[in-house]
Amino acid sequence: MSKPVFVVTEQRDGLFRKVSFEALSEGRRIADSLGSPVVAIIVGSGVEALAETAGHYGADRALVADSDIFINYSAEGYTKTILKAIQQVDPEIVLIPASSMGKDLAPRLAARLDCGLAADCIALAVDNGRVLAKRTMYANKILADVQFNSTLGIASLRPNIFPAAQPDTSRKATVEPLKVDISQTDLKAVVKELISGAGEKIDISEANVIVAGGRGMKGPDQFKILEKLAAVLKGAVGASRSAVDSGWRQHADQVGQTGKTVAPDIYIACGISGAIQHLAGMSSSKCIVAINKDPDAPIFQRADYGIVGDLFEVVPKLTDELKKVVE
């Protein structure tokens, strides 16, 4: 049997985030190709119950680091705990979601383990018992195949790319509690407060549907019509760089090279002409719809479907029509 596939999961408030199901499912797939077990780690406070769920998604062993010290996220505490577990398990590869948590932890683990990190991967493959990773560079303008030059490798997985398997409730993971020997004095950086966004807002990097607005929106208030459309499709509202730079939307909503690279099922671009840096950030969306009054806008070259017209007429109509279909 080959060395295990080690999956770092992510939870918030005692519930797995979707990216954990994606990572566990991909971990299972890779482990099956390697002929090796999946070892998952769950770090948090009051998270024992998640071990069973990890089993349903493919984990053979679930290591649970449950401690009050993890009520808030701590990069140092998480790194130390996960590092120790990795050293004990001695895996072939470590998979971690490329969420804001994973992007924070993965480089730290790689530096401590002196190993390669393939960041924000969009595909993994096994060749001759070795894991190869495909990732993007220049915000999707270039795809790169990378391989590890170290015995251990870490791959962080871009959210929304790797399909989550259907949970198999007959699968059981062996649950192994981990001893957490971290005290408050070990932590130099401490979370003092967690400010949640308005409601349970879906982040564009993890949304299945994105309705994005650009310069054509003409101002911040007009984004309300996009909010309405997004609400019908249970999606999130994104923005182009010019909309963000004009102060109409916050940077967390920006799609493109100095924003986020996204891959939703549906991307609806409203009043976005399609600058190279924006197209790069959204072109791996499964279905792209463009609404723009300029028939020559570059966005139409990338869109599956386009409507040439005034978005202030088209978007409300689209909202109404979709409401009928969805309900």
Partner: protein
Amino acid sequence: MKILVCVKQVPDTETRIKIGSDKKSIDATDINWILNPYDEYAVEEAIQIKEKQGDTIVTVISVGPERSVSALRTAVAMGADEAILVKTDDDAYLDSLAVAKALVSVIKELEFDLILCGKQAVDDDNLQVGPMVAELLELPCVTFIADLKLENGKATAKREIEGGTMVIETSLPAVLTAEKGLNEPRYPALRGIMMAKRKPIDERQLQYIEPKIDVVSVEYPPTRKGGKIVGEGAEAVPELVKLLKEEAKVI
């Protein structure tokens, strides 16, 4: 206070990237090189700290080929005091860990109270160097900061996460990586640009560091098929909804 800002020179985001003849790297000709946008926020933040509290030296450092000098000069023109280039060969391949190790070798010798980086370089999109530097130096690190306050030898930073913001307090020295929105980077004044041209750059030669990850090959992403214009104006909406449902099967 001694602040170090780690910067990288990258192609302008409007550049059409072309694959090089080795099929492993990009063609470096016809590229407009700029200071990495996220590093601009880091440089600006350092200069604002200096302006606010005085008695501060801002040093910028880059690991890269000779052309990186122009990115360092941009930072000096904005207001940085000193610049260090850890020089690589023009076609050298370094992974993030190698860059972090190269930076750490210099940082260990000079010591800083605060190390600022951009959260990522918009070329390789690795988002690794900042936290790696922190781990190698055993310093605390806060990534993706959108706000920073320094008080009583501590830093309080706002870190953006999915659907919210964390407020994190850390002791110094620490490594912080800048997110867009941290500040509004200034355009260098003409006087700054003239002064930056004459600024001596502390150049050092990089000692070879073995990469832990290799690029086997690069390719262009699959091109999307030319779009279909469904129609004009609101009248085209029912047809679009039908296509989304029946052809694309996404709703």
